[in-house]
Subunit: 113 residues, 2 copies
Amino acid sequence: MTEQEIKFKEKIKAIQDTMYVIGGKWKIVIILSIYNGNKRFNDIVASIPKITNRVLSKELKHLEENLLISRKVIDEYPVRIEYTLTEYCLSIDELAGPMEKWGKNHMKKISGK
Amino acid sequence: MTEQEIKFKEKIKAIQDTMYVIGGKWKIVIILSIYNGNKRFNDIVASIPKITNRVLSKELKHLEENLLISRKVIDEYPVRIEYTLTEYCLSIDELAGPMEKWGKNHMKKISGK
DNA sequence: TCATTAAGTATACTTTAGGATACAGGTATC
DNA sequence: GATACCTGTATCCTAAAGTATACTTAATGA
């Protein structure tokens, strides 16, 4: 295997890993919702059109396992849960920004083709 | 709906569109392979570990429909097909670069947690 | 005539993602 | 005791993504 091939396979792995962590229809969207000030389960559900509670529940676990959000139990009257972004999660901005920009441009490109 | 909410929904849509076009396990990887000099179907299959020809075939069609690659029939003896990136496709670099970087860093983060 | 090569297609699967709906469990209020 | 609030879970289902393996078509040259 040439050096170029080795580098190519490393790139593949890194990109597929990123896709595993933040890929799919909802993950970045959920992060943005929390970033926008929604901390509680039902607020997040309400803020994202068409998401269901089952999907949100699963995705929140995935994001927590990957150190992107943290879950705090607040022991008041009906027990509240607060989701917050970790410091580390802010690095997602390096991806979300470009993705938003690219998506907007692509819509124009395709609709006017 | 507040202005902030409208902007949020636009962001969601743009990101979900991007995910639709370049999301999944293979699409960016295929683009990188062509970028690396592989033009022919079997070369691309060979360059990407674990991809199958059926999957590659489907993904190439998707990428062509989204104006990211072009398919040229070369009418020689066993008919050859050449895939090349479109000019427009180069804009993917704005996404692939950050994704590669983020993925590499994330691997470190998770393995050392 | 037979094998070879390139670029896929066909068929039949398995796995993962996502969706619809119902409701549980604890606590506080009426 | 009944009811409502909150954060989910349970169950069941559909659709999309991905996999495995064999086959097709057309031309060519041994």
